[in-house]
């Protein structure tokens, strides 16, 4: 055993090297989150919503600017924090995507719809649903402005996740991104029991998956004598076969933990419940950003750490990808709730992305990243639209309530239809360019399995297209339901901006994707040594 250890034990203790330029965006987000907590403690209540919104936006914008201007420079690329963090092309691209999307996420969370606090969130998360305590909190005009620092902490975890070069940092990032999300899922203002159920489910299943991840990481450490991904990769190629039995279980368990986060079948059962129960802006934020972060981590783990023995485990992941596409697509047909429908559609999309991941080529990395960016912006905008459509003050998430929306609210329905067409992958939307970017490498480099995955992906696309088209039919060609009218709330400039940007990105990435594709392609090289 001792022969394998020296790599992990330095001769003398050395302070870790900090490339502040490389990690500055993460530090800024962490700082913003901490200040947000202080705001929560010391600012008077009436100021909090405004202050928190402003702080979060400033933090995220600042982090994004620093990322683009400083961290993206060639000199800052490389390993830092004692090789625990890798700032390379994929990490930077994904961090930038996460930051840009979380800005939109914060904008949707800040929506008040004319009320006192953020509309989507309960005045007091700690109060028992329906209790006198809750009513009192409502009367007192309390508002849950602590979602903003929670969101920032989550963003921090998301940024660290795809940059994590060792399994422990990856685990830390996983927890930092997940714990705030568990909380945020339980803070919905309406249908609180559903929201709390979602929170609990997400937490319990998330804890399970974390345990899987940790156990896998432990096995891999046992195998390679190191938690660094490049060391594991090196060990795979040079191993003497003594501890071979640890490798496959280790890789599989780590992958289970990661695939849980993207909602791949059979680790998807939390997705519809959580998407439905969580406050809608949180759902949008989580659907877009978590997926980016988790796929970033999967990419790094698979391409840097476990690539050398991929022939041993790829069949399993291919099966997962196929199942994810098929189950996601088929179950989305039977849904009657818009949020659950989008949840199953997000499962199907995770499957499509996995197809790109399994091509094992740089273009596959680029395709994955492009897909994540394209899908994320569309998703945030779509959930923002969902949060606007109301009946009797609460969200009209049942499909029947959307009937005739195209007649009563042509603009809202028009935007939503456009986003749905993007999900369906119709040309001239980002969904099509993304699907092409994901499927092309699978056919070119994925071998026979790649071709079959694409065939199944295409069939699944037709099924999901049916679902989206049915929703469009409902909005445009069906008469509105009788009873209380379904209205689209007049959104503040915040939500409007988020939807506009999301829809514009969806259009631009569909019509003129060359720039972003080029960026993704240039950013597709992992550093492995």
């Amino acid at each position: 055993m001792t022969a394998a250890l020296p790599a992990a034990l330095p001769a003398a203790f050395k302070a870790a090297d900090f490339d502040y330029g490389a990690i500055a965006p993460m530090l800024i987000v962490a700082g913003g989150a901490v200040i947000g907590v202080l705001f929560e403690a010391f600012l008077p209540r009436r100021l909090r919503h405004t202050a928190q919104t402003a702080l979060s936006l400033v933090t995220l914008v600042a982090a994004f600017v620093v990322l683009v201007t400083v961290s993206a420079q060639e000199s800052h690329r490389g390993f830092t924090l004692a090789r625990a963090v890798a700032i390379d092309g994929p990490a930077l691209f994904l961090q930038g995507t996460i930051l840009a999307m979380s800005i939109l996420g914060i904008l949707t969370m800040a929506e008040k719809f004319g009320g006192k606090g953020a509309d989507a969130f309960t005045p007091m998360g700690a109060a028992i649903p329906g209790s006198a305590h809750e009513a009192a909190a409502l009367r007192a005009g309390l508002s849950t402005s602590d979602v903003f620092p929670l969101a920032l902490f989550s963003v921090l975890g998301m940024m660290l996740f795809p940059a994590a070069n060792d399994l422990l940092i990856m685990f830390v990032a996983l927890e930092v991104l997940s714990l705030p999300l568990y909380l945020m899922s339980g803070l919905a203002r309406r249908r609180r029991l559903l929201s709390q159920e979602a929170s609990l489910k997400y937490f319990l299943l998330g804890a399970f998956s974390s345990a899987f991840f940790l156990f896998g990481a432990a096995l891999l450490y046992g195998y390679a004598g190191s938690i660094y991904l490049p060391d594991i990769a090196a060990a795979v190629t040079t191993a003497n076969g003594q501890l071979e039995g640890l490798l496959i279980p280790g890789v599989v368990l780590v992958l289970v933990g990661l695939l849980f986060k993207v909602g791949a079948v059979p680790f998807h059962s939390w997705t519809p419940d959580v998407y439905q129960g969580a406050p809608t802006p949180v759902t949008g934020f989580m659907a877009a950003c978590t997926k980016v972060a988790a796929f970033g981590a999967i990419l790094r783990f698979v391409y840097v750490g476990a690539e050398a023995n991929r022939w041993d485990w790829r069949l399993g992941v291919i099966a997962v990808a196929v199942l994810t596409m098929v189950v996601g697509a088929i179950l989305s047909v039977t849904q009657t709730d818009v949020k659950r429908l989008l949840a199953y559609s997000s499962i199907a999309h995770a499957g499509f992305i996995l197809v790109a991941v399994m091509s094992f080529d740089r273009t596959g990395v680029a395709g994955t990243m492009f897909y994540l960016a394209a899908y994320g912006f569309t998703t945030i905008a779509a959930f923002a639209v969902v949060s606007m459509v109301r009946q009797g003050g609460s969200e009209a998430s049942h499909l029947s309530q959307w009937a005739g929306l195209g007649r009563t609210h042509p603009v809202v329905a028009g935007v939503f239809s456009f986003l749905l067409l993007a999900f369906a992958g119709i040309p001239l939307t980002s969904g099509f360019a993304a699907k092409y970017a994901a499927f092309a490498p699978a056919i070119s480099f994925g071998g026979r399995a790649g071709v079959w995955m694409v065939v199944i992906g295409v069939i699944a696309s037709v099924v999901t297209a049916f679902v989206y088209v049915r929703l469009i039919v409902l909005m445009y060609f069906t008469d509105p339901p009788v009873g209380e009218p379904v209205v689209a709330e007049v959104a503040s400039p915040f939500t409007t901006a988020a939807i506009t940007v999301g829809a514009l990105v969806t259009l631009v990435l569909g019509v003129l994707p060359a720039q972003v594709l080029d960026l993704a392609e240039q950013s597709s090289q992992f550093i492995a040594k």
Partner: protein, 509 residues
Amino acid sequence: MSNFPWLTVIGLIPLIGAIVVAALPASMADQAKKVALGFSLLTLVFGVAAALQFKTGSTQQFQLVEQHEWIPQFGVSYALGVDGLALVMILMALVLLPICILAAWDDVPEGGKREKNYFALTLVLATFMVGVFAATDVFLFYVFFEAMLIPVYFLIGSYGGPRRQYAAVKFLLFSLAGGLVMLIGVIALYKYGPGGADGFLVTKLTGLDLPVAAGRWIFLAFFIAFAVKAPMWPVHTWLPDAATEARPATAVLLVGVLDKVGTYGMIRFCLQLFPEASQWATPVVLALAVISIIYGALLAIGQTDVMRLIAYTSVSHFGFIVLGIFAFTTTGGAGSTLYMLNHGFTTAALFLVAAMLVARRGSKRIPDFGGWQRVTPGLAGVFLVAGLAGLALPGLSPFVSEIMVLVGTFQRYKLPAVIATTGIILAALYILLMYKRMMTGPKPQLDRPVRDITLREKIVVAPLIAAFLVFGFYPKPALDLLNPAVKATLQHVGVTDPAPTSVAEGSSK
């Protein structure tokens, strides 16, 4: 003027028109159709001007070419160009567009926003129609091919008849499924191509040395999409529903122009890019084509809904077109391409005149008519002419193309040609029976008096009947454009016409 981007401009004018129409202020909403008609006529003028730039004797496959980088990472260019076939298809679309807009004059009686959107969507559709025929980049073609589903979907779903939802969804899903299958082929084709930033150009993908199996699979992926579009038996079932539920003008553009994309795609892509696989698949394709001819005709005879009847005649006619394409003879190919042009006008005339009758009677059921010759002699007359064109009466244009297809097929494939010929007899049956049931008999008792053909309707019908007669007696201008394109395609396939005297070896491939 040689560098003038003719095709882009022809595509852009209707798009600008659509935006203008959609953006008209509410006070001017009643002007929407006039503006739309103006833009469609302007497009036609530019289309004719572009056609005058086209030189029939050129050695280049494509003329009026434009090429710009679009998505170099995928190898996609914004590349437009036309050969004779594409030009004829575009011109046909541009001629039908103002006719359809004029025919749709009172389609949205409630006016206002809904009417504006109706005409705007029609114009958007025109943009995609030009794009899909003009694209010389496989990926760009695919983009137009899929994108044009959306305006049609809304045109059927928002403005159609009582079962419009069902028809619209069925249309979209059939087309989308076919299109996505083709997407796999598109991706795979690039892999075998030369690659690079313009690797999707048709010219770069022609004459590839594809592995036999891969070539056949990719051919299948393309062919399925085109067969759905065309539509061929057994994937034709969406057409009767879509055609009867859509507004007549939409049905004309759908059946007359959009479905041609299917047969156009077979010539441009299946034959040109996969010559080996095309010949490999010929027996099956011919069988499907013959089934389509007979099956479509038989079902047409049995219809009681006049719009469905016309839709089924189209299934039969598309069978003829596909038959001629896969006969691999110059006569057959030229006949098919000419058929594509003529069928556009025939279907337009049948649909639009039938719609005029339906609007007066308030029913699409054939038994609800009877004796209308005595009520509306003018309409009955043009309906008869349109019907006779549909059954390929000598002297009217479809006769020329149908005979060419049958002769061209007979040169190489005797049996399919013989069976297909019975389609002519069946055509006489379905047209004449329809005419007899609707027009002849005692004068019907009507609740309120109906007008005979109006001036607007005469203007709608006149150019169509003129087209029947012109191309019936003098098809040369069209054939001059089409023949070089057909010859070039057959050259890519690598077949020559069988010698006319050799009777014995006619069936050998």
